[in-house]
Symmetry: C3
Subunit: 285 residues, 3 copies
C-alpha cells in the first residue's frame, strides 16, 4: 500500500485532501497578503502536489470571509533598483510557478468569496478556473494607481481573457469590479450566489475528480495545443491526443460500461436535460 502524501508544516496555507481534491485554505491575517510566508507555502505545496497521484483537483479558498488574496507585499517593492537590466531570457520566481500551474496535469480552481487584487488577482489568473461569489467577491488590478503595472502575468492574462479594451479599462481605470461584471468581462468563469458557491465548486471539483487522471492530462494538453499551435498543426495534434485517449484501456472500459447502461437510447440521452433542470434550481441561470 502506497503511503498518502502529507501536507504538513505550512505557515499560512492549510491543505486537506478529500476524494482526490486538495482543498487549500489561505489564512494569512490581516488581509491574506502575498508575503514571504505565502510564497514559501506556494513553492512547498507545488513541489509536493505535482508528484501526488492522489490529487486530481486543487481548490483555493480563503479562511477570511472578506478577503481572498489582497495583493503582493508592496514594502518589498519600494526600493526597486533604479537601473533596469535587459529583458530576461527565462521565466523565474512566481511567474515560473504560474506557468507551471497552467500545464500541471491537475485542475486548479479559485473559489473567490472576498476581495482580490494585484498579485492576488494574478495568482487567480494563473489557475484553470475562477468562480466568484455575488455580493462578496471584489476584483481589481489597480497597480497603476501606485505607478506600477501588473507584472506577474496580469497584463498578459487579462488582455487574453477580456480583450484589450476591457483590460485597459480595468488596469487604468483602477476601479473595483463585482462578480457579475467580472463574469461578463470573462475575468471569471461564472458569478454564483454567495450561499451556493461552495456547493457549486464542490460539485464541479468532485465531477472532475471522477475523470481518469490520464484523460485530465490529455484535455489540459489539448487546450495548450489549441492556444499555442497554428490552426492546422493544432487540429492534427488534437487528433493524435484523441487517439491516445481512445486507446486507453480505462476509456474502453468506460465506453462499454456506458453502452451497457443505455448510452444511445432515447431515455439515457435525455438525462442531461434532467440534470440541467436540477442545476437551474440549485444555482439559478
Amino acid at each position: 500500500m502506497i503511503k498518502k502524501m502529507e501536507y504538513k508544516d505550512y505557515k499560512v496555507w492549510k491543505i486537506e485532501v478529500k476524494n482526490a481534491v486538495a482543498w487549500v485554505t489561505i489564512d494569512n491575517p490581516p488581509v491574506n497578503l502575498i508575503d514571504m510566508n505565502f510564497l514559501e507555502d506556494m513553492e512547498r505545496f507545488f513541489t509536493q502536489v505535482k508528484t501526488d497521484d492522489d490529487v486530481k483537483v486543487i481548490v483555493f479558498q480563503s479562511a477570511d470571509p472578506e478577503f481572498f488574496i489582497s495583493h503582493f507585499d508592496v514594502t518589498a517593492l519600494t526600493d526597486f533598483p533604479e537601473e533596469t537590466g535587459p529583458v530576461a531570457t527565462e521565466l523565474t520566481g512566481w511567474k515560473k510557478f504560474f506557468m507551471e500551474f497552467r500545464t500541471l496535469p491537475k485542475v486548479t480552481i479559485a473559489k473567490i468569496e472576498g476581495i482580490v487584487g494585484g498579485g492576488g488577482n494574478e495568482f487567480c489568473l494563473s489557475l484553470d478556473m475562477r468562480f466568484g461569489a455575488i455580493g462578496k467577491a471584489v476584483f481589481s488590478q489597480s497597480e497603476a494607481s501606485i505607478g506600477i503595472i501588473a507584472g506577474g502575468g496580469g497584463t498578459h492574462w487579462l488582455t487574453h481573457l477580456m480583450g484589450r479594451s476591457r483590460a485597459l479599462e480595468v488596469m487604468l481605470g483602477v476601479l473595483p469590479y463585482s462578480a457579475e461584471i467580472a463574469e461578463r468581462y470573462g475575468w471569471i468563469n461564472r458569478a454564483l450566489p454567495a450561499d451556493k458557491i461552495g456547493q457549486f465548486v464542490e460539485m464541479i471539483a468532485n465531477s472532475i475528480a471522477n475523470i481518469p487522471s490520464k484523460t485530465i492530462a490529455i484535455v489540459k494538453q489539448s487546450v495548450v495545443v489549441a492556444e499555442e499551435m497554428s490552426r492546422k498543426e493544432a487540429l492534427l495534434e488534437e487528433g493524435h491526443l484523441f487517439a491516445i485517449a481512445a486507446s486507453l484501456l480505462e476509456s474502453k472500459g468506460k465506453m462499454n460500461q456506458a453502452l451497457d447502461i443505455g448510452l444511445q437510447t432515447r431515455e439515457f440521452e435525455l438525462y442531461p436535460k434532467r440534470i440541467l433542470e436540477g442545476l437551474k434550481k440549485l444555482f439559478g441561470e
Copy 2:
C-alpha cells in the same frame, strides 16, 4: 435556363431550398446520432451544395423537438487500436469537412432547439453561427466522462470561442449547459425565446441571402484573414478585399441605389433605430 440542383436520395437529412436558403432537417431517430448514414449524407450534401450557385445560406435544424444532434456513434470507438501512430500530416474525414465549412463561400447556421453534445456539438462549432432556444437547447462536451476527448475539433474551437478557463470547465466538469449560459460563454451567438427562434433564424438567413454572393465570399474570407494573418498583413489584405468589393459593378449599383433613395439624409439614417425597436419587440433584449 439553368436547371436547379435537386437534393434527393438522402437517408437521414431532408433538404429544401427556398430563396437561396437551404434548410437541412436532420431526422435520424431515435436521438439524431452521428452514424454512417449521417456521415454519408453530410459528404453527399457538401459535395452538391458547394457547386450550387442558387444557395447562399445553409440552416441546419432537427426534426426531433428534443434532440438536435446527440453525438458520434460510440460503438465505432470501443475497439480503437491500442497502438497510436504518429501525428497525421493532413486533415481527413469529418475534420476536413468541418474545415471546409469554415471557408465555404456560403453561410452556415445551426438552429439548436434540443440536446446537442459530443460530435454533435463539434458539428455545430464548425458552422458559422449558432443560435439556441431558451429552455429547450442543452449543450455539453462531455467526452471526458468516458475517458476520451472532443477530438473532432471540439477542444480547439471551444478554447477559441470561450477561452481556456471555460473550455476546461465544460470539457472536464462534464455538465450540461443552458442556452443562456452558452450565450454568456460565447458558445453560441445568442439565446432566443423558444417560440421566436424560428422566426429569428428565418429573418437573418433571408437577410444574408439578399447580400451579393461575391460579397458574402469576400466577407467570409476577411474573417479568415483576421484570424490567421499577422496584424499588419491582415489589415493590408483587408484593404485589398475592400478594393475588390468596391470595384464590383453590383456594389456600385447598390451604392448608387442607396444614395438615390436617401442614404446620408437624416431621415434615412434614422432607419436602423426604428428597425432595432422592432427587433426588441419581437425577440426581447
Copy 3:
C-alpha cells in the same frame, strides 16, 4: 511656464481640455458623416495631441443626440476604380491613423449615445474603450448591404473583439444592435443607463488622468506586447516593463505614500468594497 496647446480652427470637431482630459465633440450635421472635413480634423487633431503632454485621455462624444458617427461618405466610393492593384505594403490613410491611436501613449474613449455604423463604427473600434448608452446607442457594421465590406479595420477588429461567429452575424446579417447586445458580444466595454453614461465616462476619464503619464504609456505597451508576442516572450517583456515602472521615482513616491496612509492594513484594504457599493448605486449592475 510652458504654453498650453490650443485646439483652434477645427471645422467639425470641437476640442476642450480639462484636467488632462481632451473632450472632443463631433458636430458635423446632418448625420455626423465621415467626410473630408471630418478627416481633416482627425488628422489635425492627431498631429497636435500626440505632442501635447497636458493630455492623458481623449474622450469622443457627439453634439447630436441621435447620431454618434453615421459612416464614411459613400459618394466618395461610387466611382472606385474597376482595376484593383496588388496588396499594399504599408498602411496608409485612416487605417494608419487608426493603428496609431492604438499605440498612442494616451487613452482614447468613445462615449456613444446615438447611431453609429460603417466607418463610424470602425473609428470606434480603433479607440481603446467604448461605452454605449442603453436605449440610445445603435450599432451596425452593414457595408455588405451595399455590396462592400468594412475595409477600414472593421472586419479585423470585429473578428478579434467578438469572434468569427458573431462578427459574421453582424457583418452579413446587416441588422442594428442595442447597447446591451453590443456589450454581450464584446463590441463595447459596457452598456450604461443613458442618464448615467456621462457621469461614468467622466469618472473613468478623470481616474485615468490621475495615473502618471509614464505608467499609462507602459500599460498600453504591455497590452500590445500581450497581443503581439508569443507567450514566453510576452511574459518576459512584461517583467521588463514592470521593472521600468517600479524603478520610476514617481512610482516609489506613490508606493510610500500609499503605505503611509494605511496600505496593507485591514481598514485600508476594505476600501474597494465600499467604492464598489457606491458604483453599484450610481450605475447599476
